[in-house]
Amino acid sequence: MLTLTCPYCGITAEETELHPGGESHLKRHGPGSSDTDFEAYLFARKNPRGVHFERWRHVYGCGKWFLAARDTATLQVFGTYKAQSKFPPAEIVAAIQAARPGWQPDWDETGDSAPGITDDPAPNPTPMREIIA
């Protein structure tokens, strides 16, 4: 069974405790964008046979959305990281490259219009503890 570690609560959960949410780091297109961009945002997915960045929700745990890097051909998990990450962090890239020599990121962290990467990361939410306190 697929197991992922939630980067928020630190629990290593089986897939039955989690809910998959599809490809991550999508660039959002809304009102004002071209029809082509909007269609691509809604429907066109990389769906790679290999390294895949994706969203998961720790639905029967802390309830938070997080991101994971996983190989769809082997089910190997390279790591999980917080949903607020604009790009997969360096340690995730290193973990992928350790397992898949020659694999290169297809995003450009310096550009504003990196393909498939959101320009507008969600702001850090206020931790629930502080609200309760």
Binding site: H19, P20, G22, R45, P48, R49, T72
Partner: protein
């Protein structure tokens, strides 16, 4: 991958026509005269049409290209073995009780072709129109299936709503008074049933081979060469093969092939799984689908109970299932079919299905001029094989879709013109 060690066919030796006389003749000479059912040729350097994927849909596409359009300079490339993908991994259910008109047209075309497929191909595909029930186990399903029955009757697809008592009469092993999911009735299609999945692939392969087409197994496409918006050739592990037209019919690997050709598809690949029990005496002569509990059941000719389960929710290219889905499926089924609780399960497997957002297929031209795709059949492609091949052959031969394929173009996603079959096709097939 080296899978099969197959003897080279003697040149020109055909499998001949199968008939009772052929059986008698071969019986008298100790079955020494049977030829190969299809040839095993070396690839040529160029074909008029290259079809990628020798599953049911790819082979049917090739067959109807030859039969309906006289195009026989065709190669069907298969990275593994013939019918070794989803064609060999499904639960063989055939039905056409979908909701939307475009679906009814193509699935019912397929069903009508299945009815005469054994005669057409001169190969016994064991089509068994034993009847099919989709159980309603909630009030919402009653409303949904009554609506489908009305829609089907307007489409000329004969289905009807039956009450629980008739369900029990048709399938005595069913428990209609389950405490959690009682059986409240069913959508019944008498013309639905099953066929032998391997035989469908084999029958089409034999007919294609007899027309002079090349079926090339263990031939994996590793790249697609395009120039000026047109495809020139495909690179394979057995050399470069040029073509005038390219048809991608590769189900779960459609996104991978599209990526090679430089475009993306609205497809996500996930694993769908099934399992079979040990063989038992005949006890169920209809196909039963229970969508609420994600299980569907029929009995094979060998006596095994064939059980279809659920899908994983995440992108997956491994042809394996997940234990929790086996558990969920079996738990639900033994409530509805208590007698199954003592059965041992023999095998369990997964296939990679190509899911679209509206759960309807894609038969379409693509951003590359002479590449055509046939994919997105998702969890229910087997039943559609003849209709899909028929419509795809028309699309490839003419370069534009006929009436069956036209609604299933890629442009429907840009236009928001979905063919929503998420109820008819959700999981169970």
């Amino acid at each position: 991958m080296t899978v099969s060690v197959v003897p080279k066919p003697a040149a020109g030796r055909s499998s001949g026509r199968y008939s009772v006389f052929a059986i008698a003749r071969e019986a008298m000479r100790l079955h020494t005269g049977w030829g190969r059912a299809w040839a095993n040729p070396e690839p040529k350097s160029r074909y008029q049409v290259v079809v990628v994927g020798a599953g049911g849909h790819g082979l049917a596409t090739a067959y109807y290209l030859g039969k309906n359009f006289g195009i026989t300079d065709v190669a069907v490339l298969e990275k593994g073995w013939l019918g070794g993908g989803n064609t060999g991994r499904n639960t063989t259910i055939i039905r056409s009780n979908y909701l939307q008109d475009p679906s009814a047209a193509i699935y019912d075309k397929a069903l009508k072709l299945y009815e005469n497929l054994s005669q057409d191909l001169n190969f016994n595909v064991m089509f068994s129109p034993r009847g099919l029930m989709m159980l309603a186990q909630t009030e919402h399903e009653i409303r949904g299936y009554k609506r489908t029955a009305h829609a089907n009757n307007l489409q000329g697809v004969t289905t009807r709503w039956i009450e629980a008592a008739e369900v029990k009469k048709l399938a005595p092993i069913i428990n209609i008074e389950g405490p959690r999911y009682p059986v409240l009735g069913a959508l019944y299609q008498e013309r639905g049933g099953t066929a032998r999945h391997d035989a469908v692939a084999w029958g089409y392969a034999r007919a294609c081979s007899d027309m002079g087409m090349h079926i090339i197994q263990n031939c994996e496409v590793t790249g697609v060469d395009t120039e000026g918006g047109r495809v020139r050739s495909v690179n394979t592990n057995r050399g470069t093969i040029a073509c005038d037209k390219l048809a991608l019919v590769v189900a779960g690997h459609s996104s991978v092939l599209a990526e090679m050709a430089g475009f993306r598809l609205p497809i996500e690949s996930i694993a769908l799984q099934a399992l079979v029990s040990e063989p038992i005496k005949p006890c169920l002569d209809v196909v039963i689908m229970a969508n609420t509990v994600h299980g569907y059941l029929s009995q094979s000719d060998k006596g095994e109970m064939v059980i279809g389960g659920g899908t994983d929710g995440f992108n997956n290219y491994t042809q394996r299932g997940s234990w929790q889905h086996v558990e969920e499926t079996v738990r639900a089924l033994i409530e509805t079919f208590p007698m199954l609780s003592r059965l041992k399960m023999l095998r369990q497997w997964g296939g990679i299905v190509d899911m679209t957002g509206d759960r309807s297929p894609i038969l379409s031209a693509t951003p590359v001029d002479n590449i055509f795709v046939n994919c997105g059949w998702g969890t229910g492609g087997f039943k559609a094989i003849p209709g899909s091949g028929w419509a795809m052959a028309e699309l490839v031969a003419n370069g534009r879709p006929g009436p069956l394929a036209a609604p299933f173009g890629l442009n429907r996603f840009a236009e928001g013109r979905f063919i929503d079959e998420s109820v008819a096709a959700g999981v169970a097939h």
